[in-house]
């Protein structure tokens, strides 16, 4: 009797201790992030010098350009993420037994800010850029391409190495052993890929892809540098709104950004559910 009570007490104490350990970072995040969201919501609902109004939200939903922007943003973001994940997976399988040098070279784009990668993309791929000069003409022009190929290209170049690192990290832990065991049992390379490698990398790949997707949905630097002039991405739309009308523009921008944030979080929740274990196998 006292034993169970003691155990319950111990469990409670351990829980309280864990909560205390989590508290500093979670409190800091809740404060900063929550404050930011509340602040953005306030901006969207209360334009400068006016009372609360839903005008900004109404404007947003009435604007055909915003609908274009949402479609375009979702399409490029999904495509970028899927391609980056595929490239990362392919590279991971190709270099998993290679040395540190190859890995470091492949990881090089990871610490490079997006803006710089976009700048470099312009230097190389724009009409009149280095590739154009070297080849005497490009078969396709990804920079400012109306389909957004330039955006996709930059994101794949930038994010595939990031996902590659996650995948390689997952493959480092006992994967080779499991793979050998499966091979010895008579699994073909393709079966091993499906039943051994894929389950190992699925969680980190999905979690990483969510981060990539969310970033691609919300960033404006890359579309600004290589995206088409129409349609804009959501973040670009927001930025342009703030450059238009001073008072209502900020509210419209905040509303657009909030909507994109909610969409990202919803997508992430769906993806995590699909991947089951967010902590990784």
């Amino acid at each position: 009797m006292t034993g169970t009570r003691w155990r319950a007490g111990a469990r409670w104490r351990a829980g309280a201790r864990d909560a205390a350990l989590l508290a500093p970072s979670l409190a800091a995040l809740a404060l900063l992030f929550g404050g930011a969201i509340i602040g953005a919501a306030r901006v969207s609902l209360v334009p400068l010098g006016q009372g609360p109004t839903l005008e900004a939200w109404r404007d947003l939903f009435d604007d055909p350009l915003f609908a274009d922007a949402v479609l375009f943003t979702v399409r490029t973001a999904l495509l970028s993420t899927a391609l980056a994940a595929l490239v990362a997976l392919g590279l991971a399988l190709a270099v998993r037994r290679r040395g540190a040098l190859v890995r470091i070279l492949l990881a090089l784009p990871v610490p490079v800010p997006h803006l710089l990668v976009a700048t470099v993309a312009v230097v190389w791929l724009a009409p009149g850029g280095l590739a154009d000069r070297a080849l005497g003409g490009l078969p396709v022009t990804p920079v400012r391409d109306p389909a957004g190929m330039g955006i996709v290209l930059v994101y794949v170049y930038k994010e595939a190495p990031f996902l590659l690192l996650l995948v390689l990290a997952a493959l480092g832990r006992g994967h080779q052993e499991s793979d050998e065991a499966a091979a010895a049992l008579g699994l073909t390379p393709f079966q091993r890929l499906r039943w051994v490698t894929w389950p190992t990398v699925r969680s980190p790949l999905v979690v990483g892809s969510i981060v990539v997707l969310a970033f691609a949905l919300g960033a404006f630097e890359v579309p600004l540098a290589v995206g088409p002039s129409n349609p804009p991405t959501i973040a670009e739309y927001a930025r342009e709104a703030t450059q238009g009308d001073l008072v209502s523009g900020q509210s419209t921008a905040a509303a657009a950004l909030l909507l994109s944030a909610v969409a990202s979080i919803a997508l992430a929740a769906i993806a995590v559910r699909a991947a089951r274990d967010p902590q990784g196998g």
Partner: protein, 397 residues
């Protein structure tokens, strides 16, 4: 606030005009007609209060020559007056205005972090409407006596009365560029430009509004042809323009790069000296030349304004006044510097007119911009941009 004011008033009554001589490093400041509206004595308290202040001047930061002018010419002159200038580079003037709006929203009515903004057009008009700017200060600047108060581009900004809420410092005129090696005679007017584009499909484009320059190009067409005719013209231009009008450069800088790399035949800018700086940056070929269209050129002035909550409003006024001194205006007009025409009225300069003598002649600068097209009212700008997006850009094939 009131304390500081009291202190400066006391300083003035004690030392009187002697203080004006303190600013004597630059003899333009504080001298002048005692009888006119802006007087040295009237400005003396401001000068006194400005001493020791650091003015944070938020301005577009992508032009090295403008940056160098502020850092190497304005800042040393200001230092002699006891004022430090700190440039805050922004990508777009709207970023600076947003900052002021955020402070207003947060109820910060004094000690704001923006002291001075390089501004004009919609940004100024929007801020004026929202009451963001310090009122009536520009009229009191001693050097404003060199301005022509009847000049519409000085009196109004995109047809919005300035009312002393901003002070001019740069001239803007819409100018095109061509490579004289490639296109010997540039188009005469807008119709000529369209004809050229038809003859050379894919060689003409302009930045997409709401880029400042692209928006100005659209206004240039609207001012020359009337709104509906202008949009018919732009739709016609679309099908023969660069990449069949599917996409446009996002900024003037991008158009300049395309022009420099020979991808299109014309560049354009609201900065009359842009060919000069393009060649200097190595971005344009040395054979690049400016030209204007016979339909006329949009012209306006760009200003500096002081937010009502600026922490260093006196220092900011001193800088605004400094920018109007003939010496600094002349230095700015030098093609080796910004190469920007002065905002001052040369007829009012008397003896100092000679400062501007040698700046007239450069193959990279136009001496005449043709007929002046007045800027449209600021509140029409956003509507035009929106209409362009919907009718020209979005309807692309």
């Amino acid at each position: 606030m009131s304390l500081r004011f009291l202190a400066s008033v006391t300083a003035v009554t004690l030392v009187g005009v002697a203080l004006a001589a303190c600013g004597g490093g630059d003899s333009d400041v504080g001298t002048g007609r005692a009888a006119g509206k802006p007087t040295a004595a009237g400005f003396a308290p401001t000068l006194a209060a400005a001493r020791g202040q650091t003015v944070r001047w938020w301005m577009y930061g992508g032009d090295d020559k403008v940056n160098a002018y502020v850092d190497d010419t304005v800042a040393p002159a200001a230092r002699k007056l006891g004022v430090r200038v700190e440039r805050v580079p922004v990508v777009d003037t709207a970023d600076a205005v947003q900052r002021v709006v955020a402070e207003r929203r947060a109820g910060k009515t004094s000690n704001g972090s923006v002291d001075l903004i390089w501004i004009n057009g919609e940004n100024f008009a929007g801020g004026k409407k929202a009451g963001l700017w310090l009122k009536s200060w520009a009229k009191g600047l001693p050097n404003s006596r060199y301005l022509d108060p009847k000049d519409p581009t000085i009196r109004t900004d995109f047809q919005v009365p300035v009312e002393g809420q901003e002070s001019p410092w740069q001239r803007a005129a819409f100018v095109f560029a061509h490579d004289s090696d490639r296109v010997r005679t540039p188009p005469r007017d807008l119709d000529g430009l369209l004809a050229f584009a038809r003859e050379h499909p894919g060689r003409v484009t302009y930045p997409a509004p709401p880029d400042f320059t692209g928006s100005a190009f659209v206004r240039q067409v609207v001012a020359a042809k009337g709104e509906d005719a202008a949009f018919a013209y732009l739709r016609e231009l679309r099908s023969v323009s660069y990449r069949r009008g599917e996409t446009y450069p996002k900024s003037e800088a991008e158009l300049s790069r395309l022009f420099g790399d020979g991808q299109v035949d014309f560049a354009m800018s609201y900065d009359p000296a842009f060919v000069n700086s393009g060649v200097r940056k190595g971005q344009f070929p040395r054979t690049a030349r400016p030209f204007s269209l016979a339909d006329g050129s949009l012209q306006n002035t760009s200003f500096v304004t002081i937010p009502a909550n600026a922490a260093h409003r006196e220092g900011a006024q001193v800088i605004a006044d400094l920018l109007l001194t003939p010496r600094l205006q002349a230095a700015k007009a030098d093609p080796d510097s910004i190469g920007n025409p002065t905002v001052l009225d040369l007829d009012r300069l008397a003896g100092r007119r000679g400062l501007f003598a040698e700046t007239e002649d450069s193959k990279y600068l136009l001496s005449d911009y043709g007929r002046t097209l007045a800027e449209l009212p600021a509140n029409r700008v956003e509507d035009l941009e929106k209409r362009w997006t919907l009718e020209v850009l979005r309807q692309s094939p």
